[in-house]
């Protein structure tokens, strides 16, 4: 470990309702979105992460496959698992599908009691977290 560098830690709670592979995938996703895991950054091999977390290697492999399907990581035989750069151009079909998911989520939040102003503020805050960092680091590396 390079001196002075704070490692990014993934934490798993086995008593939580959320499946372990989802917990792993969610935290990696957030790390990438926040720029803590820049494009090209290697992720630990399945066996190492499974050993450190004390979980079945299939659970970690499932999390990595999910992230690969979502475009967050690349899995190569020789290079292992690496954080993928953001797509250079938005795919219209994918954007339409994600927009549908966002609409459903916003509807649920509205139904849960969030006022439109609160929703706007929340979205602005989240955008601030994920907006610049990953794009900048990806451009630097790609």
């Amino acid at each position: 470990m390079s001196a002075g560098k704070v490692p990014i830690i993934v934490v798993v709670d086995r008593t939580a309702e959320e499946p372990v592979y989802e917990q792993i995938a969610r935290q990696i996703r957030m790390g990438i979105a926040a720029g803590e895991l820049p494009a090209g950054a290697p992720l630990p091999p399945v066996r190492v992460l499974a050993s450190d977390l004390g979980c079945n290697p299939n659970t970690v492999a499932r999390a990595y496959r999910l992230l690969e399907n979502e475009g967050f990581v690349r899995i190569r035989d020789r290079e292992g698992v690496q954080v993928a750069p953001p797509a250079a151009k938005a795919d219209a079909e994918e954007m339409s599908r994600l927009l549908g998911a966002l609409r459903a989520l916003l509807a649920r939040m509205r139904q849960a009691g969030a006022a439109p102003e609160e929703l706007r503020a929340m979205i602005a805050r989240e955008l601030e977290v994920i907006h610049e960092a990953p794009v900048r680091s990806a451009r630097r590396r790609v």
Partner: protein, 369 residues
């Protein structure tokens, strides 16, 4: 030195070394652990925890004094091997009994609930993998060479071959030639060379138990400790293999009549190995602490994660059992170094193979006597 005073010195040495090691274990453990129980970083500094530790020191000092006294008294009354072993057996028994007592008391301080599991996503290259690879190659080559040397010279050996050497290096016991008597030492050389270096390689990949919210201090401590332990075990493997290979090759030369006895280098190597092992364990314990405990600056708000903190995965605080965990080696909770995951069939298989080889060699040695 007379034989009597040499045995007395040996008894005093073994009692003080083993007893001193047991006595000082509480000083080197990861913070939060108390006699094999995870009690939490705050509770391990409570008055109740201090009372358990003070009681351990008092009883262990008593056990050392008793072992020493009975060992010295036994020298006059018992035959030599029994007199030399009895104090160590007594001390081991006392250690197990006192540990179980302290463990039972510490259980009362254990917190309820399941601790979270955590792992670094930052890739840290596995340290210390060059030396164990070199040790494995060295052990395999030297072991195979000695096996080949013994095999090639087997037809030229006389009907009776030396099976034991006295303190002067001269043979003091001879037996009829057989494959088991001639191949025993070469086989031991190969097994130790490969087995110890394989263990060193596994140590470099052992499970890492880290702390939350400590800015990576525990991870760095783990990485450094594992590297030091791996290199230490590789050194033990190479020294032990060299000593055994030298013994194996020269005992064949003695059998062939080319040498009067073992060269003085064998005894010198044995002393170097002993000093290296004792000095190395002492250095690792007090420079790094168990699992890097002395480097990690643990605080009450930096709890250990589930590999070490989940009491349900540890039987008697000594045996880690988690079938879900793919780790083969995990850090010990009490003592120094690593233990196997008894819930992993690969770890059990490795243990069975290694124990089988050791027992086989011991059985062959007994048959050869």
């Amino acid at each position: 030195m007379e034989a009597g005073s040499a045995v007395t010195a040996l008894v005093v040495f073994e009692v003080l070394v083993t007893g001193g090691m047991f006595l000082l274990y509480p000083l080197i453990v990861r913070k939060g652990l108390l006699f094999g129980v995870y009690v939490g970083e705050s509770a391990c500094e409570s008055d109740a925890a201090r009372r358990i530790t003070r009681s351990w020191y008092a009883w262990m000092i008593g056990a050392i004094v008793l072992s020493l006294a009975s060992g010295l008294a036994g020298l006059a009354a018992l035959p030599l091997p029994v007199a030399a072993l009895a104090p160590v057996v007594l001390q081991l028994t006392a250690f197990v009994a006192l540990y179980l007592r302290a463990y039972r008391r510490a259980r009362a301080l254990a917190p309820a609930g399941t601790p979270p599991a955590a792992a670094p996503l930052t890739v840290v290259p596995a340290p210390g993998t060059v030396l164990p690879k070199a040790a494995l190659l060295f052990g395999a080559c030297l072991g195979l060479w000695v096996m080949g040397y013994a095999w090639l010279h087997y037809p030229d050996l006389p009907a009776r071959v030396p099976t034991h050497f006295g303190p002067s290096g001269r043979p003091d016991a001879w037996k009829p030639k057989s494959l088991s008597t001639v191949m025993l030492l070469p086989l031991m050389t190969l097994s130790m060379g490969v087995g110890l270096s394989a263990f060193a390689r596994l140590t470099a990949r052992a499970k890492r138990a880290i702390r939350l919210r400590d800015q990576g201090a525990s991870l760095e401590a783990q990485v450094r400790f594992r590297a030091a332990m791996t290199n230490f075990l590789s050194g033990v493997s190479m020294l032990a293999t060299t000593m055994l290979a030298l013994m194996a090759a020269t005992s064949i030369q003695v059998g062939l009549g080319r040498r009067p006895g073992l060269p003085p280098g064998v005894m010198a190597l044995a002393i170097v190995l002993l000093v290296y092992v004792l000095g190395g364990v002492g250095y690792l314990a007090f420079r790094y602490g168990q699992g890097g405990a002395r480097l990690e600056r643990a605080r009450a708000d930096t709890p250990l994660t589930d590999g070490l903190a989940d009491n349900r995965k540890w039987i008697l605080g000594m045996f880690y059992v988690d079938p879900e965990d793919p780790s083969i080696l995990v850090e010990r909770r009490f003592g120094i170094g690593y233990t196997i995951n008894f819930g992993n069939w690969k770890a059990i298989l490795l243990l069975a193979v290694f124990a089988g080889i050791i027992l086989g060699i011991c059985a062959a040695a007994l048959l050869a006597r």
